[in-house]
């Protein structure tokens, strides 16, 4: 089921052991998992051109084969409102180790989830859904199921979360679109099954969910050894 383009991305990433963010987003897009409008800008000019096309505000994120966790090195700049701020961010990124440009993407909003996958030694591909964002390992509010997922699995995973009311509506917060979230999780599950043991783990974190739908803001794909 994997297209040649898809295979090419995985093959190119193999020596590094993980798929860099712009390739990971492209791969997810090919698999039908919703991703934002984005561009991989290698120069300041390309960054400004992409932002103009996407429309401000944008988020800029460093691309480097040496940086797996971008937040740890201040490699993510959300809410960039104009070209000047974008140019400043790009300059800063260019001094980070292994710099290969930046992802410029539309700003997303909504509740932050993590959707992940792992090739488990005992159970094969498993999928995780939880409350996401930077503090994901602080809250540790997640549920795991063996893939492939059925729609009822997604429902029970969400019901298991301590923070489920953040998704189903709470004190003026509107409920997120659970139908779209379920669709997204099922598409992701198909992708994970197709990748099999070629992956070690995947983080889609955060996935922004709103009443309109769900979109993957950041993706990290670690390949299996």
């Amino acid at each position: 089921m994997l297209s040649p383009e898809f295979e090419k991305i995985v093959a190119e990433a193999r020596p590094r052991g993980w798929v860099m963010e712009p390739d990971a987003l492209r791969l997810l897009g090919l698999a039908g998992v919703p991703v934002p409008r984005f561009a991989w800008a290698r120069s300041r000019a390309e960054a400004l051109e992409a932002a103009a096309r996407i429309g401000y505000p944008v988020v800029a994120k460093v691309v480097s084969p040496q940086i797996l966790h971008k937040s740890d090195v201040d490699g993510v700049r959300p809410g960039i409102a104009d070209g000047e701020a974008l140019a400043t961010a790009f300059e800063r990124f260019s001094r980070l180790p292994g710099f290969e440009g930046a992802v410029v993407a539309e700003m997303l909003s909504g509740r932050e989830l993590i959707v992940g996958a792992k090739h488990d030694f005992q159970f094969g591909p498993v999928i995780l859904i939880g409350i996401g964002g930077i503090a994901v390992e602080v809250y540790q509010d997640t549920a795991t199921r063996m893939a492939p997922l059925k729609p009822s699995d997604v429902h029970s995973m969400l019901a298991c979360l301590r923070g489920r009311r953040l998704l189903t509506g709470h004190r003026g917060l509107a409920a997120v679109n659970l139908v779209k979230l379920t669709e997204m999780a099922l598409k992701f599950s198909e992708l994970v099954m197709a990748l099999g043991d070629r992956i070690d783990s995947i983080d889609l974190n955060p996935v922004f969910c709103s009443p309109e739908g769900c979109m993957v803001a950041d993706a990290r794909i670690v390949l299996g050894s």
């Binding site: 792992k118 030694f121 005992q122 994901v136 997640t142 549920a143 983080d203």
Partner: protein, 455 residues
């Protein structure tokens, strides 16, 4: 592979019986089978001679007539030769008690015997195990009978990676009055593994609940296990050890860190309606409950008590577990009130928990249980029976069981387990209603049914 000679042997050879060391494991096994079980047993030792006035055979091949099972308790390096004899001799199966294989780094020796057995389609349990306990038929434990607590024949099939846990669990089962259909310590599980025994016990007519103590599965083996367990109609209970060994390797993603080995194990079991027990106590309660009530429930509990305090404690435990104790609608309360005797009608509390007070008599319990058995708001009844209450007769256990049998809604009872209440307890148990010796035990028995439903 045919497991019949393994679990229902009529003739057993014990290899390794010592002519000089009465405490040798093979001697313990030979003695107990010889003296206490309805099975023909032959001692085997290359030296030959006689042992307790019986002929000692120099090899399995010397034994006249068919041999169903060989119990092998010799030094590890001698096992391949004995196994080869068994295969040549067309013995049906073996239990390899001997240690000294993969657990001490001798994977080569273990792989060698496994390959021999696989090529000959010869089933064996072990090595490095206690083997089989089949109540009333035979056992291969090298522990003297008088040291063991021996559960009666019953309906729980139990498979354990650890022999020690198995023997200890037999104590817990016996204390709960819970019987075994078969117990197997699989040790290094070189050939026969959890999945094979799950398949076997699924087909075994005596087994109603299948329980496992698991330390870990092999690559992708967990997937096959949960898929099979979900497909069979019998409840499967798993106690997993090694919950806290995660984080030993560096992880590169949040998912790998959050979905540690145990989290995945626990969530995947729940996904497939396999009941995870988190302690020996839970395992015992769950097996007791599910051997009576093999179907899942949503977990809406009706509680009947004669003490407000007991009702409150039970409600708290239920809430902690995720069970619900729903309020009773007016119609149900009216029906309850109408059934009660005049002297408690106005003092009983008819919310859930239903507190019949210390003045209640047998007929009040029967009436209340009858109403709850039909109430659509609840799918299970937890009865807290305190026999020091003077209106309770010794027949009440049996009489309540008959009410339960009328419509089948799961009923579990708590009765303090002291000798003078034995007649009440047996009144329930002999009529197939499980009885717990503590309030939390009773709540776990209800919880077992809730965990039985895929989540």
């Amino acid at each position: 592979m045919d497991f019949r000679p393994l679990f229902k042997p009529e003739t057993i050879a014990v290899a390794g019986v010592s002519l000089s060391n009465e405490g040798h494991p093979a001697n313990v096994i030979y003695n107990k089978i010889h003296l206490r079980y309805p099975v023909k047993v032959y001692p085997v030792n290359p030296k030959g001679g006689s042992f307790k006035r019986d002929r000692v055979y120099r090899s399995v091949e010397e034994i006249p007539g068919p041999v169903d099972l060989a119990v092998i308790a010799v030094r590890a390096d001698l096992v391949p030769e004995i196994l080869a004899q068994c295969i040549r001799r067309k013995v049906g199966a073996a239990v390899i008690i001997s240690g000294g294989f993969a657990e001490v780094g001798r994977s080569d020796l273990q792989d060698r015997i496994t390959a021999m057995a696989r090529a000959a389609e010869f089933p064996f349990i072990g090595p490095n195990c206690l083997g089989i306990y089949a109540p009333g038929q035979f056992d291969t434990f090298f522990l003297p009978g008088e040291r063991l607590v021996r559960p009666n024949p019953g309906h729980v099939g139990f498979v354990s990676q650890s022999g020690g846990v198995l023997v200890d669990q037999m104590v817990k089962f016996t204390q709960q009055g819970l019987g075994l259909s078969l117990a197997v310590s699989i040790g290094n599980k070189a050939l026969i593994r959890e999945l094979d025994l799950l398949r076997h016990l699924a087909e075994d007519p005596e087994t109603r609940v299948i329980a496992f103590y698991v330390e870990g599965f092999g690559r992708n083996e967990g997937r096959a296990f949960v898929e099979l367990a979900a497909a069979i109609p019998k409840p499967v209970v798993v106690l997993k050890a090694g919950k806290t060994t995660e984080g030993s390797r560096a992880v590169s993603s949040h998912t790998a860190s959050l979905a540690g080995d145990y989290r995945v194990f626990s969530d995947v079991l729940a996904q497939h309606g396999i009941v995870e027990a988190r302690s020996e106590f839970e395992l015992t309660c769950f097996c007791e409950s599910l051997s009576h009530y093999p179907r899942g429930i949503d977990g809406n509990v009706g509680i009947i008590t004669v003490s407000g305090g007991h009702g409150a404690i039970a409600s708290d435990i239920c809430a902690d577990l995720g069970l619900r104790v729903p309020r009773m609608p007016e119609a149900v309360k009216a029906e309850l009130r109408a059934g009660l005797s005049a002297n408690i009608r106005d003092i009983a509390s008819l919310e859930n928990p239903i507190d019949l007070t210390g003045s209640a008599v047998d007929e009040d319990f029967l009436a209340a249980l009858n109403v709850l058995s039909h109430a659509a708001e609840i799918d299970s009844v937890l009865l807290l029976l305190l026999p020091y209450s003077p209106g309770i007769s010794s027949d009440l256990g049996a009489r309540l069981s008959y009410v339960h049998q009328q419509n089948g809604k799961p009923l579990v009872a708590y009765v303090p387990h002291v000798e003078k209440y034995r007649i009440l307890i047996e009144g329930f148990e002999l009529n197939r209603v499980p009885v717990a010796s503590s309030i939390d035990g009773a709540a776990y028995m209800v919880e077992a049914m809730r965990r039985c439903r895929p989540c």
